[in-house]
């Protein structure tokens, strides 16, 4: 007959208990930290586009202003994507038969729109308005990153609700001087006016920017 278990059983039991508690801890840590990480949000994601358009070349290189293509950014909820026509206004003159630009030329020829992969996106239940952010001194780079430096456009910010709230709770330090709104390289430095000065300048409204109704309808 003898005992039900071998002496080793005690060791195994303790190990099992240890493992159990460890998995519990690990799981909770995962739940806590993973969603905050960039990986979970696809930051730095740069999908292939119909045309490998380089903001770096067009903005830094040629010094074209954001608004040349994204015309509606100051007046509309959308920044606006340039119609093929806009591309061709230059490329009918230069690089007229570059293989890279074949899709653009076809688009105009066959009257078929180009389909760009969307990189910066918020869910449909979030109503983001470009014009008000621009008007109140939130620069492009705040959400799009240093686009002027992107050979291929990639997702630069997590764009989680927390990301939005961080700024809505304390806009001051993130505001940019009027003339620097479209400068995606801009960083706060000694010459930058103090947050409250900027807040006053832009007259950021006293309304509660963390109200759910500011973004959700």
């Amino acid at each position: 007959m003898g005992s039900v278990f071998r002496p080793a059983a005690n060791l195994w039991a303790s190990l099992a208990l240890l493992l159990l508690s460890l998995t519990l801890v690990a799981f909770s840590l995962l739940v806590w930290f993973w969603p905050h990480g960039d990986a979970a949000r696809g930051v730095n994601w740069a999908p292939a586009q119909p045309v490998p358009f380089s903001h770096q070349h067009h903005v830094s290189g040629l010094g074209i202003d954001c608004r040349y293509c994204h015309t509606a950014v100051e007046v509309s909820t959308n920044a606006g994507m340039p119609p093929t026509y806009t591309c061709m206004s230059c490329h009918s003159q230069i690089w007229t038969n570059a293989a890279l630009l074949e899709p653009v030329r076809n688009s105009l020829k066959d009257d078929r729109p180009l389909a760009w992969r969307r990189i910066t996106d918020v869910p449909d239940f979030v109503y983001f308005d470009h014009s008000i952010h621009i008007a109140k001194g939130v620069g492009c780079s705040s959400c799009h990153g240093d686009v002027a430096d992107m050979a291929l456009t990639y997702k630069a910010k997590s764009l989680t609700m927390q990301f939005c709230l961080d700024c809505h709770r304390d806009p001051g330090p993130r505001l940019q001087p009027k003339d620097k709104i479209y400068d995606t390289r801009w960083r706060r430095d000694a010459t930058t006016p103090a947050p409250d000065v900027l807040l006053a300048q832009y007259g950021v409204p006293e309304r509660n920017l963390t109200d759910c109704s500011i973004c959700h309808r």
Binding site: V4, F5, A9, N10, A13, V31, W32, P35, H36, S158, T160, M161, Q162, L165
Partner: protein, 467 residues
Amino acid sequence: MTLFQARSTLAVSADSRRPNANDPIVAPEQTISTMTAKICAPPLQERWPLWWKLSLGAALFLVLILVISIGWLFYAGIGIWGIDWPVVWGFAIINYVWWIAIASGGTFISALFYLAEVEWRNALNRLAETITIFAAACAAIYPVLHLGRPWLFYWLFPYPNVMTLWPQFRSPLLWDFVAILTYVVSSILFWYFGLVPDLATMRDKAVAPHKRRFYGVLALGFRGSESAWRYYHVGYGLLAALMAPLVISVHSIVGLDFAGAATLGWHSTLFPPFFVFGALLSGFAAVMLLAVPARRLLGLEDFITGRHFDILGKLLLTSSLCVGYAYLMEAFTNFYGPDAAEKRLFANKITGELSPIYWATILFNVLTPQLMWLRRVRLNEIFVVLISIAVIVGMWCERYVIVVMSLRRTHLPSAWGGYTPTIWDWLTLFGAVGLFIAGLLIAIRLLPAISMFEMREVILRNARRDR
């Protein structure tokens, strides 16, 4: 062995086993050895009789139905239920409250009466606690099914998230969520903790190696050393002392789910105690109902005796009087109070097209239990079963009255509506009953139906008293 005897006795000489008022709590001829042997026998039995297989099969069939209806629910949406506008709560809530109340019986008996140090409870607490955990499990299903988007139920947990959002802690539903979580976890632990010494007994009674190992693992290496017993004793008492207030708070909070709302027919300070009364009533009814077959089929007549039925009957009667008082007060406050709409609603309850359900509630929960005044009834197993069933059905009706009838008649007459449960409502109800029964059947198949180590105390104490 026992089982087959039990079966024959049912047939041949039921008389010897019929409950009797002056039965002792445990038959005098029982010694700790015979008792242990008798209790251990069924779980260790290799083959179980037909009644068990058949009823388990039936129960599992109901479980299958439950699974199917839940699957369809998740696929199609809760529109498959009868809930509508304005009756946005329906069977899910009714069943939830019903089950959680049934669950309470176990805790009351094993915790409250443990603290009160009453002997008779030792024969029933195992059964009662087993009822508790499976009823609580059934109850715990519904709040999730009830949600429009069940897959998001985890938003009720306060966990750090990228939305920087927290649950809305003012909502009674959240209190309820936490209360149920606490109750289910604590009940299971309490039940298991109470099982450990008996599992050790099973381990040592068992012969087949795999059974010894099975019970051995569950027994956690408990061998009844003096020090172990000492701490075990302290721990068990402590748990009992925690469970007793917990069960009261859980049902008060369930009451607050309703009383916390401004809804007509719910907005009443009476609700928390009212719900505790209801829990007592259905809890005792459930234990009583299941004590009868357990006693007969597992041959426990020596341990669940006439005394137990006598006591349980009185308890049932008492709690039914408490519930009756609550009904009375509801009526009184409605007519004494200023709110015309409340009066209109109550009038509709007692005279409206659904009034039969209200009166069924009164009949089953208040009037029928009055029979328990008669000792003959208390000791007659047939009556006991019938009355317990009546009470359990009555308690379901009560929840129907509270949930549906209140919502049908809201403040604005323009928003009055009706409610017709669909087949899916019924299937989710009966499916859960199957789940409950299957759980019980498997439990008695594997575990001792009576807490042996506590029974030993009773037997020895009696023995000493006799000397």
